[in-house]
Amino acid sequence: MSEAGRFDTTNILVVGTGGQGVMTATEILAEAAIALGHDAKKTEVAGMAQRGGVVSSHLRFGAKVLSPQITPGSADVLLGFEAAEAMRWRHMLRAGGLVLMNTGRLVPPVVELGLYDYPDDPVGQMRAAGTRVFSFDASAIAQELGDIRLGNTVMLGAIADHLPFPAEVLERCILKRFARKKAEVIELNRQAFAAGRAAAEQAARTAAEAG
């Protein structure tokens, strides 16, 4: 049960950097929850209108949602669009919570300037700290499909089998967004979603084998 106590609420935290489509992805997750009759609230912490900065988007859904923010230590799933950002927000995760993360890196100018270091091994560091992590290169998957902008559909595919509702509901909500687009765009998103699901499944197997 979540921090919300008697209110049986699912808490999903989606994190990344400005411009990656974090807020849109969270909104689609909210729409899926609503389609199934849940109450839902979605909110962001997105300072200075993003501009390449840190974005964390909170989604809470259940019978009745009060406070829109996920309190630290109570996120059921952390969906990380960028490797270091997943690390940054790990403290939001509940005990036994799951991190689904893109291993793709976005290195900010402060690191390029040599002022800070990018962590050597975000996945390894999180696992060493006892966190359950399923990781995959969503950026590379999107690029292979021909458009980096498919990254957020890949990420949504990855979380699809870790939600308290069928993956198909989420897929329908994504494709609905592109209903007016060309058939080709819809097909690409369908593929991206499937690739994300497969990547997360493969990552889960790898994590299980690693013990």
Partner: protein, 634 residues
């Protein structure tokens, strides 16, 4: 939030329950209320209200040049009997307050609702203010919704109250209302007859004698509003079985209280001013003790204490920032002398900071790279994306307080300089929209008082930081249709800057920019350097052929990194010892060609000419259209 994010709201609802942000819900209610005129100046977290209102039919919507003008426009429409709406961020009301403090005397004919969005937690603001003070200061009612549904419903009630009591009404929102999406039951528009303007100099012309006659009416209105608060359905008492602590709360703080203490009695104030003291007294009598939970300042608490009620509040809760169950639970446990609740804790991991950056190819990059080359200079800054110039790698902005303040501050820095700073150059940096908002007057003051200031007017044809909204300098209105476009060069000349001291410079032509800046800062009179390249996020911007780095030619000097473009990445670092014995750190680079839009700013500082167009190397690189979507291959 970008402009695209808003368009998700359809002009007319197909379903009656929609997932809406607080801003979208207010906009919907504005449309439903039959509002005919809506005005605003963009500002986080309020921006989307007007953006969204503009998508509905039958409402005149405008971006005004500043918040004061927007409120005056809305007030004018209300004088004419139309329902009108005005939205602003908290600091906007500082600008608009001059108008507010007298329209509270005249009152309104058509309903006038002013939505003020407080950036509690300072996600994108220069300060944190509690706009509920304006209710007390201007003697107008303040409504405080707690979620998107209430944002919608309270907006409708606000118009009703405004017309019933003939007063402007403040709708107080916070970031956590504006930018939270929740389900909202919506209605349809009801058009209302417009009474028209009735000439009445005793009411609309606020000369001292007339204003003096209106003062008692204003205080009588406040008395009647207090009586209304006692019966208003906006104020709700929720009984609870655990009466050790009763909570008095308003706005989003209510949600945190309700979630943290499900069994406690709660007095939820929807009408946050004036307060219903009699009802609150009855509520207090039913609880062992009262705790006021409010964001952010102790307004309710102070008033309850003045009424002789014993309450806890800011003695146990923080005076700034957002509240949360994580803050409330331990505070109340301590108050009750109970053991602290066990909060879930997952230790944080240390990660580099990721401050907001300027975009790839942003024209401001060239400006700040150039400013960072100047010595013996004080740079007076302003509010916009270019405020980021204070940070790495430029360190080229020394002050920033409020909209347009770069001008006056620069003149003060000039006139107040110490003897040791006799030769110091004073530069002011201001964007197009900020200049039109409140900078023009400051420049006029510099000219009139013969200041020695070099003004950099960064005209990127957009209100960049809030998502690229239009303004009188962009040549487009709120709907994106053609509109008269101000000519900045003519404008500053009209303010008295001499013709020879006005330059329009391409922000990507670094040598010209540097030369012009050097020349103008030497001349002891006001000058204005206008840069005129568009924001890379608006449609006026056209991407050019991307660049790449020839690995063999890169010497690792790292000069290109000082431009600050996020498309330049370090591939490896080396420390070498020069012949002189000096140790030098080298940083070899590559360009993220998929993100590069070919502005060429990094070419100038590159000594070995290692940066070339991608096709020079015949490398097949696909260009991503959206420059903001950066990525890095592993």
């Amino acid at each position: 939030m970008t402009a695209e994010a808003v368009v998700s709201t359809p002009p007319v609802a197909a379903s009656s329950r929609l997932l809406m942000s607080g801003n979208e819900a207010v906009a919907r209610a504005v449309w439903e209320a039959g509002v005919r005129v809506a005005a605003a100046y963009p500002g986080t977290p309020a921006t989307e209200m007007l953006e969204c209102v503009a998508t509905y039919p039958d409402v005149y919507a405008e971006w005004s040049v500043n918040e004061k003008v927007s409120l005056e426009v809305a007030f004018g429409a209300a004088m004419a009997g139309s329902r009108s709406f005005c939205a602003m961020k908290h600091v906007g009301m500082n600008v608009a307050s001059d108008a507010l403090m007298t329209m509270t005397l005249t009152g309104v004919a058509g309903g006038l609702v002013i939505a003020i969005a407080d950036d509690v937690g300072l996600s994108s603001s220069q300060n944190e203010q509690d706009s509920r003070y304006w209710g007390r200061f201007a003697h107008v009612p303040v409504l405080e919704p707690a979620d998107s549904q209430e944002a919608h419903d309270f907006t409708l009630v606000a118009f009703e109250l405004s017309e019933r009591f003939e007063t402007p009404v403040i709708l107080r929102l916070t970031t956590r209302i504006c930018h939270v999406k929740g389900l909202v039951s919506v209605g349809e528009r009801s058009d209302r007859p417009v009474a028209g303007f009735h000439k009445d100099v005793g009411r609309w012309v606020m000369v001292p004698s007339a204003a003096g006659r209106r003062l008692p009416l204003m205080f009588d209105r406040e008395r009647r509003l207090r009586a209304e608060a006692e019966i208003s359905e906006l104020n709700v008492v929720e009984a609870g079985s655990d009466r050790r602590v009763g909570f008095v709360t308003s706005g989003p703080a209510y949600m945190h209280v309700r979630e943290s203490f499900p069994d406690a009695p709660v007095f939820k104030l929807g009408l946050a001013f004036p307060l219903p003291f009699e009802r609150l007294r009855l509520f207090a009598a039913e609880c062992d003790q009262l705790v006021v939970v409010e964001e952010v300042e102790p307004l309710i608490e102070t008033e309850l204490k003045a009424q002789g009620l014993s309450v806890a509040g800011k003695d146990i809760l923080p005076l700034s920032g957002e509240l949360s169950p994580q803050i409330l639970k331990p505070a109340i446990a301590r108050l009750l002398g109970e053991p602290l609740p066990e909060l879930a804790r997952t230790p944080p991991m240390t990660v580099f900071p990721r401050p907001p950056t300027m975009c790839v190819a942003c024209p401001h990059l060239g400006v700040y790279y150039t400013l960072s080359q100047l010595r013996n200079v004080t740079i007076s800054g302003d509010i916009g994306c270019y405020t980021l110039g204070f940070g790495q790698p430029w360190n080229a902005l020394d002050a920033c307080i409020s909209m347009g303040a770069s001008m006056g501050m620069a003149l003060g820095l000039d006139k107040g300089r110490s003897d040791a700073e006799k030769d110091k150059k004073i530069v002011a940096v201001i964007g197009d929209s900020t200049f039109l908002h409140m900078g023009m007057q400051g420049l006029l003051d510099i000219v009139y008082n013969r200041g020695n200031v070099t003004v950099l007017l960064l005209d990127n044809r957009a209100v960049g930081m809030t998502g690229g909204q239009d303004n009188p300098g962009s040549g487009r209105d709120i709907h994106g249709s053609d509109a008269p476009r101000v000519d900045f060069a003519r404008l500053v000349k009209a303010l008295g800057v001499r013709e020879e001291r006005v330059h329009v410079v391409n922000a990507y032509e670094l040598p010209v920019l540097l030369r012009t800046l050097r020349d103008e800062t030497k001349i002891p009179e006001p000058s204005v350097i206008i840069t005129s390249q568009p924001c890379v996020l608006i449609k006026d911007y056209h991407a050019l052929k991307p660049f790449t780095v020839i690995d063999d030619k890169c010497t690792g000097c790292g000069n290109c990194i000082d431009v600050g473009c996020p498309a330049i990445h370090v591939t490896r670092r080396e420390r070498v010892t020069k012949a002189s014995g000096r140790e030098v750190d080298l940083a070899f680079v590559r360009i993220e060609s998929a993100a590069c839009t070919g502005c060429g700013l990094c070419l100038k500082p590159c000594a070995p000419d290692a940066i070339v167009h991608v096709d020079t190397l015949a490398m097949p690189i696909r260009v991503v259209k959206k420059t903001s979507e950066l990525t890095q291959t592993p």
